[in-house]
Amino acid sequence: MNRLLLALACMLVSSTFALAHHSSAMFDKSVVREVTVTVREFQWANPHVWIQIILENEDGQEEEWSIEGLGTNSLFRNGWRPNSFKAGEVIEIRFNPMHDGSHAGGFIGAKFADGRTLGTWK
């Protein structure tokens, strides 16, 4: 069962999500969501990679969310690979949600079942 945590971290500015291609103002950087999810798809492409995740909402219903990361090139130089996220994999993920509650967010970090992490995971 997916665990849903909403961590209100006022003035939190530690997000690694600093967009190169467009404004990131749509993401609420004062809020960090940490959830256990199932990866549906990993889009390894520019200008941004996207992780499509399935999470369980508070009503127990499954929702698909789109988590946006940086571009492939800088991520590759920081240890990401085209197969870093595999469909069906269960991971923990942290992201800044959108201000308007839409089902998307800016990537902060991810932790895999074997303990590996990507991005910022403190």
Binding site: A18, A20, H21, H22, S23, A25, M26, E41, Q43, A45, N46, P47, H48, W50, Q52, E64, S66, E68, G71, T72, N73, S74, F76, R77, M98, D100, G101, S102, H103, A104
Partner: protein, 270 residues
């Protein structure tokens, strides 16, 4: 009939260039040293750690009254995230001099007759001719993203002048919305510092936008050996289109708008 030996012709031709053996080693892959989210002039930004595009962050170049008024108006739009960045539509490059403040990596290809600045992000390609040629006459140039650049090597210092940049019509200097006009010129000096940084000193003049020359300095650091630059096609999977009002939208994996509010109207996208 007498022929001039080819080697004499080549020697005469190459004589106009710097000696390749004396050119500096700018090989490898580089990254901008100053960050601040792409702020163009870190020396005048307030607050000092302000990021381009963040509300309340601005720079203080010697703007004319008219350009200061434009900048103030633009900053008000930036505070509401309504200043679309031209490069966000994935169709045009950043142009010069903004291309010295981009994320991702850089390559500087040095040849006696030409130096190329290649930015991975964009990408942008800028050509600086050091073959002894002059700038094209007025009737043979037009505003472009990187303009026209000619220069020369003064020892290991590349000095060049850039004109005919496209300016505010299609470029900005950073996401604070700062712009120049298409009458701007830039005199640039680039050289390696004793610390191994590649330093770019810019003197920007613009009869419309600036009261006096604007001095901007930026640096690049060399990435570890073996670092590579990669292909970057911005339109490959752009899921962030921009509305006519300047709002950046987000699309789901099927291309459907995720945002619940578009241009001030609540939409039903469930």
């Amino acid at each position: 009939m007498r022929f001039i030996p080819i080697y004499l012709l080549l020697a005469f031709h190459w004589g106009a260039f710097a000696d390749a053996a004396e050119l500096p080693d700018w090989s490898g892959v580089w990254q901008r040293f100053e960050g601040n989210g792409g702020i163009f002039d870190p020396s005048t930004v307030k607050p000092g750690d302000g990021r381009a595009g963040s509300p309340g962050v601005r720079q203080f170049p010697p703007l004319t009254e008219a350009w200061e008024a434009k900048y103030v108006a633009t900053l008000a739009l930036v505070a509401n995230d309504r200043v679309p960045d031209p490069i966000s539509v994935c169709g045009t490059p950043a142009g010069y001099p903004r291309m010295l403040a981009l994320p991702d990596v850089y390559e500087f290809i040095v040849r006696p007759e030409t130096t190329w600045i290649i930015t991975e992000n964009g990408p942008n390609i800028m050509r600086i001719y050091t073959d002894g040629s002059e700038l094209p006459p007025e009737g043979e140039r037009w505003p472009t993203y990187t303009g026209n650049s000619v220069g020369h090597w003064d020892g290991e210092v590349l000095e060049f002048r850039t004109v005919s940049m496209i300016g505010e019509k299609r470029t900005i200097l950073d996401r604070s919305g700062l712009t120049l006009s298409d009458q701007a010129t830039v005199a640039t000096r680039m050289y390696l510092t004793d610390e191994g940084l590649l330093r770019a000193e810019l003197v920007i003049e613009d009869p419309l936008a600036l009261r006096e020359p604007w001095h901007v300095t930026r640096h690049f650091r060399r990435m570890p050996p073996g670092t590579r630059a990669y292909d970057y096609a911005c339109a490959e999977n752009n899921r962030n289109p921009i509305t006519s009002s300047g709002q950046t939208l987000t699309l789901d994996s099927d291309g459907k708008v995720i945002d619940k509010v578009v241009d001030g109207e609540v939409i039903d996208n469930e």
